[in-house]
């Protein structure tokens, strides 16, 4: 497929994918660092580049509420948010997924206050972890673009009918311009396809009630139906990603790996830090060190089986969590630890809480982490604290 080459940041990549998807209703509210998505889309409206309705609401809570109303009404719907806005939306995120509405949310990840901070970390993504949305993670603008197109197709598949969030790191991805390839408008739209309504409120021939109260005899069954759809989505996501590879030549997997086959120390992470880690791996491999990287692409549903394929042989696994767990190990760590136990794997596990509020994580920091892990590999047991920090000022801080 002939593609166009262009320089976009993550926000523009998301905006352009939204434009190509011919969304019927976008209801949104600006918040740093996702604001440019809302601004870009406003410009599309002002220039007549999109035909759908753009509803500039008065809060993120209303943004997602209007999205839920619009999706129930029967058409393609998307929005974007970050951080406090995500937190304000959270109540309605649960409603969107529980009503099985295929809304696409561009979540430009940012720290949660207090203290206030506008930069990237995964606190907001973790907050939405249990909200019943499919969550994908894009590590650079190209991935933001590609995963957005896939998100609509996955969300709207009848056997899924779940909302999808495409996460990208605030500023590090959202405001970083990179050269990327994008599909011609008609090809992008053809890939997603026309919206296929299911039980639209706007069809007067079949009045429908959305949002009934399900008490004791009903709630469990509906939640488990939702759960079932979530697991069903693995197959659909796989299929859509394969179709997208066929079309674009770009391949996406539930977990992306780099140099893991013979790796003795593996870092598992999500988001833009994967790119930096890849460079650290290259550097250490050049020094003869057997290090590798696993970057989790699909945060929900969590690809336990896929992840397990790469963790059976390594000596040490270090999981990077970009959110303060505040009282336990990090959320990604917990997922990985469960996979290890489920499969009877014995590698040493370490957890780093890093990059909060946009704090830098450089190749040197990652080298330090790999080296620290190596000490555990050599000892054949954990000789470092379980939860460690990196690039934090003050006395060394670690837990367990």
């Amino acid at each position: 497929m002939e593609q166009n080459r262009i320089v976009w940041d993550g926000n523009m990549a998301a905006s352009q994918a939204m434009r190509q998807a011919k969304i019927d209703v976008v209801a949104a509210y600006p918040i740093t660092p996702s604001t440019p998505i809302v601004q870009n889309y406003s410009q599309f409206v002002a220039d007549g580049d999109v035909d759908g309705e753009f509803v500039m609401v008065e809060s993120e809570h209303s943004a997602m509420s209007a999205c839920v109303g619009a999706a129930s009404a029967g058409g393609r719907v998307a929005t974007a948010t970050s951080s406090q806005g995500y937190a304000l939306m959270i109540e309605v995120l649960y409603q969107a997924s529980g009503m099985r509405l295929p809304i696409v949310l561009n979540a430009v990840n940012r720290a949660l206050a207090a203290p206030l901070n506008i930069h990237g970390d995964h606190s907001d993504m973790y907050l939405g972890r249990d909200a019943g949305w499919i969550n994908m993670v894009a590590n650079n603008p190209q991935e933001v673009y590609d995963l957005n197109l896939c998100a609509f197709k996955i969300a709207e598949d009848y056997s899924v009918r779940l909302p999808v969030a495409v996460n990208q790191d605030g500023f590090l991805v959202s405001h970083t311009t990179e050269a990327l390839n994008y599909l011609p408008d008609d090809e992008a739209y053809k890939f997603i396809g026309d919206y296929k309504p299911h039980n639209p409120m706007l069809d007067p021939e079949k009045p429908v009630t959305y949002g009934a109260q399900t008490e004791g005899e009903w709630h469990y069954e509906h939640k488990m139906r939702h759960e079932h759809a979530m697991y069903n989505s693995f197959g659909v996501i796989e299929k859509v990603l394969a179709e997208y590879k066929e079309l674009s030549g770009r391949e996406y997997k539930f977990v992306e790996t780099y140099q893991v086959d013979d790796a003795e120390e593996i870092i598992i992470c999500m988001g833009s830090v994967a790119g930096t880690t890849q460079l650290a791996v290259d550097k250490l491999r050049a020094e003869g060190k057997k290090v590798g990287l696993v970057s989790v692409r699909l945060w929900r549903p969590f690809p336990k089986e896929e992840l397990a394929k790469y963790l059976g042989k390594t000596k040490t696994i270090t999981v990077l969590d970009r959110s303060a767990p505040l009282g336990s190990t990090g959320a990604l760590y917990n997922e990985v630890a469960a996979v290890m136990v489920d499969n009877g794997y014995n590698a040493v596990l370490l957890n780093y809480v890093y990059g909060l509020g946009g704090r830098d994580m450089t190749i040197d920091h990652l080298t330090e982490i790999f080296n620290s892990a190596k000490e555990c590999s050599d000892a054949g047991k954990r000789v470092k604290p379980l939860i460690q920090t990196i690039n934090l000022r003050g006395k060394e801080l670690s837990f367990y």
Partner: protein
């Protein structure tokens, strides 16, 4: 109380817990099994309203002010709404219909729920003198 046949397994429900009002098109007016019109709230009632057509002037106040859609109108030859019957499956016995009934004596009165309608009609009071 929930009707047993509606207690389906998780895989049988409509995704998103949606409910439908009608079987088929709305103009066929066949209500869906999930329409509350299928559900009886008769056991909420202690007293029931009884209608006496002898005094009724078909003013339809009882119809408009019934909170439970339980005054079911008929249509006369001229296409006008007239009193039809009381839907005892959905009447909760609030007594508003009796309160708003303007005739003297009233054309609707409350009686114990167990009292047969014929007996209630036999007990109907005479016209009241204006106070």
């Amino acid at each position: 109380m929930t009707e047993e046949h509606l207690l389906k397994g998780w895989e049988e429900f409509e995704p998103g817990a949606t409910l439908f009002s009608f079987e088929g098109k709305p103009d066929q007016e066949v209500h869906h099994e999930n329409n509350s019109v299928q559900h009886s709230v008769a056991d909420w009632r202690v007293d029931k309203p009884v209608h006496n057509k002898e005094f009724c002037i078909d003013c339809q106040f009882c119809w408009v002010y019934c909170p439970d859609t339980s005054i079911i109108p008929d249509v006369d030859d001229k296409g006008k709404g007239i009193f039809g019957h009381i839907d005892y499956k959905h009447c909760k016995g609030c007594g508003i219909c009796v309160d708003v009934c303007p005739t003297n004596p009233k054309s609707l009165l409350m009686f114990a729920d167990h009292l047969p309608v014929e007996e209630a009609l036999r007990q109907w009071p005479e016209k009241e003198e204006k106070k």
